[in-house]
Symmetry: C2
């Protein structure tokens, strides 16, 4: 089978415990001994057995990232950022996706490949305040990402959804547009991204003293391109006049743009468009897409730091009373899709 500490110990002529000490940088080891052990490790190509180590220490060095789906560019880029941040701390990342199905979201949470991970980063999608109980069932350290659903029970790192949406809408207003479609609303949802961004949209209009035309508030299923396209097609069919679109994420915006362009509208001349997320594609679409950069890198790094902190104090009396909320800085990125004449 594979090489163990015993083999190294034999080769170096020391006890197995000394090998362990060398590996764990125990300070009191004679340099010559250390040297001998390291040479043996090298010669034999020894690699520690992570299962055994984690059985002993209770740590695996792996965290899981629970997200809806990787296909979605936003989550792919988020996962990328998380993995980079994790790598800086020597952590590996196990990704679990649950799709857009509430049931499997619950299932994934209930049965994380736990005991196998030290902590969880969970990007909430369907769960609402009623589901707080489910989070309590999970004893692992966990940090929530991206949405602002829960207030009490867990640490939370999120973007400024309301403020970002408001800034996006104000940006559009500053172009003189007044009939602004809000694309991506979710019926009745108040505290997820959809609800929060809609709130930001309303705030901006209110502040500008513009009455909200409810016909301009458009739902869109799962925030993919096809949903944006479908929503826009449905909207156009109603012939409600409009001169701008605030899409609640970039892919929705792309789907919608595509449909509008097919219909002969020019962007930004006829319709100004702004998205949300600042995915890479926004820089190369035609026109390039204005958007809100949610500060993904910052979110990822903050989340990892907090999670590590929680993992550190795991086992100690960790009452979650002190769960905190962190907001990343957002940034308005103006591109061609909202250029003024």
């Amino acid at each position: 089978m594979s090489i163990t500490m015993h083999d190294v110990a034999r080769a170096a002529g020391v006890s197995i415990k000394t090998v362990s000490n060398v590996i764990n940088d125990y300070p009191h080891i004679r340099p010559t001994t250390k040297q001998r052990v390291l040479e043996a490790i090298d010669a034999l190509g020894y690699q520690p057995n992570l299962s055994a180590r984690s059985l002993r220490s209770g740590r695996t060095g792996v965290i899981s990232l629970v997200i809806p789906e990787l296909r979605n560019a936003y989550f792919a880029e988020l996962a990328d950022s998380v993995m980079r941040a994790a790598a800086e701390h020597g952590l590996s990342v196990l990704i679990e996706q649950f799709g857009n199905d509430r049931e499997s979201e619950l299932a994934v949470l209930r049965k994380p490949r736990s005991q196998m991970v030290d902590g969880i980063l969970y990007s909430v999608l369907a769960l609402g305040e009623d589901d707080v109980g489910i989070l309590d069932e999970i004893s692992l350290p966990m940090v929530l990402l991206g949405e602002r659903i829960f207030h009490g029970p867990r640490d939370h790192v999120t973007m400024q959804n309301v403020e970002g949406a408001r800034a996006a809408t104000e940006h559009i207003l500053s172009l003189g547009r007044r009939r602004i479609v809000a694309l991506g609303a979710h019926e009745g949802e108040v505290i997820g991204s959809a609800g929060l961004r809609l709130t930001g949209y309303r705030q901006a209009l209110d502040a500008a003293g513009i009455a909200v035309d409810e016909r301009l508030i458009r739902p869109a299923g799962t925030w993919h391109r096809k949903d944006g396209a479908a929503a826009m097609r449905a909207f156009l069919a109603e012939s409600v006049p409009f001169d701008a679109v605030v899409a609640f994420n970039d892919t929705l915006a792309f789907g919608a743009m595509r449909v509008m362009q097919e219909a002969g509208m020019r962007i930004p001349e006829d319709v100004a468009v702004i998205g949300f997320d600042d995915i890479d594609e926004t820089r190369y679409s035609l026109p390039t897409l204005s958007t809100i950069d949610p500060g993904r890198g910052e979110i990822a790094q903050t989340a990892i730091s907090i999670l590590l902190e929680r993992i550190g104090e795991h086992g100690d009396a960790h009452d979650m009373q002190d769960a905190r909320e962190y907001l990343s800085a957002y940034r308005l990125v103006a591109r061609e899709s909202t250029a003024s004449a």
Copy 2:
């Protein structure tokens, strides 16, 4: 701490081994006993400790997927497919990205979080035939994905790069276009995707009796949008006449399309464009992008099956003499970017 088999055993009034037997579906257990154990498990909320189990059994139920980067839509969608296929077999996936840096590609391979994973799916990027030795160092079961670099040492699941590129080029030729840019070549590379796709391109032109104009063969760094854009800008600066582009992946095509459209060219009227990969975006760009669907789902499923097979026989005398190569079926998807007048 957390609940172990001992707790369950005590609660059910049986030995710890019986609990283990129940969990592992050992056949000879009295139904009443089984019942009692299951109830105890449920009541205590017991979950087996994966570290301990894998220490004993040598299996972790986790495989790693080694890819360049998740930001890249192709790999995000590949990862998605792999995770779905893995989930069907109860496997979890640990993703490791190495960027576009040859050194870290080697580093990731050499130090997989091994002992922690049962096998590796490795999407080769920079490694060439000279590096075969590195693969030999890795004792874990491994399946190579996506490229056709190595012939001997490992199982390999790949798309039909040459044939796909040839089909793409022939599709363009069938439109009557003759001055076809090949976008994404890599200087001197012969056996990676870039080299193979270029071969397909040349074959198609040869077969049609058209001499290859080397000025139309354009390198592009890392196959991102920005590389496609930069390459196209550089190409346009040379004022070489052309009427079509075969891009070696979709994102390159998008970057290039964007630059051409900026320069006032119409697609497909002035320039026909076809990409490679069939990422979701191709369905919603303006114009929608014709492309080659590499059969990602099939690749993922095949790779997982083979890997599982190899994991099964791991430990048995597994000479890699019988390493095989599997080709997925590709599919030409014609969309607007190659529509004929």
